[in-house]
Amino acid sequence: MSWSAPDDIFFSTSLAAYLDKKLLVLLRDGRKLMGLLRSFDQFANAVLEEAYERVIVGDLYCDIPLGLYIIRGENVVLIGELDTEKEELPAQMIQVSEAEIKRAQKAEKEEMLLKGTMRKRMEFLDLD
C-alpha cells in the first residue's frame, strides 16, 4: 500500500484523520467500545488505547476499563468521532457501578426471554 500524501487524509476514507482521537467503536455483537485510536490498517483492524466498554441498559450506563485493545476489523460496524463540545449521553442517564449494570443486563435478558416465550404461547390466538 502506498503512503498517502499528507492532504489525502482529509479527503479519503482512511482512518488516518481519526488517529489519536477519542472514538466510539460499534462492534457487530452490539458492544460499544471507546478509546484513543493509535493504529489501523486496510481491514479496519484497530488499536485502541485507554479503551473502555460503555454498557447501556435503559437509562443506566457503566464504563468498564479495558486497557490496550486490538480490534479485528471484521467485527467493526462503525467508528465515530466524538464531538468533545457535546454531551456524550443524554442528561437523564445515570452512571452506575459494574455490578449494578451487570444485574440490569441480566434482568433485561430475562425480560426478553420472557417476552419471547409469552409471544410463542399467544401465537395460536392469531391476533395480528
Binding site: T13, S14, L26, R28, A44, I79, E87, P90
Partner: protein, 93 residues
C-alpha cells in the same frame, strides 16, 4: 468499480445509510473507497432515542461490509447514466 465510481460522484450529497444492525444514519457523504467503506460528516442518527451512545458523534467511518442500504435523494441520481454504465460493465467493458 462501477459503484465505487458512482459513489465518488455522490460525494457532498445528503444520504441515509442503513446498517445491517438496523441503525440508520443520515449525513453528508464525505468519501468512499474500493471496499465501499463510507465516511459521513454532520451525522445524525434517525432514531436518536434508541441509540443514546451516538448523541455526540458528528463524523463517522462505516465499514462497507455492514451496510444494508444507502438511501439517496431521488433527484440525486442520473438513472440513465447508471443504466448505461451497468450495461457497459455487463458487456465486459
Amino acid at each position: 468499480m462501477l459503484f465505487f465510481s458512482y459513489f465518488k460522484d455522490l460525494v457532498g450529497q445528503e444520504v441515509t445509510v442503513e446498517l445491517k444492525n438496523d441503525l440508520a444514519i443520515r449525513g453528508t457523504l464525505h468519501s468512499v473507497d474500493q471496499y465501499l467503506n463510507i465516511k459521513l460528516e454532520n451525522t445524525r442518527v434517525v432514531d436518536q432515542d434508541k441509540y443514546p451512545h451516538m448523541l455526540s458523534v458528528r463524523n463517522c467511518f462505516i465499514r462497507g461490509s455492514v451496510v444494508r442500504y444507502v438511501q439517496l435523494p431521488p433527484d440525486g441520481v442520473d438513472v440513465d447514466l447508471l443504466h448505461d454504465a451497468a450495461r457497459r460493465e455487463a458487456r465486459g467493458g
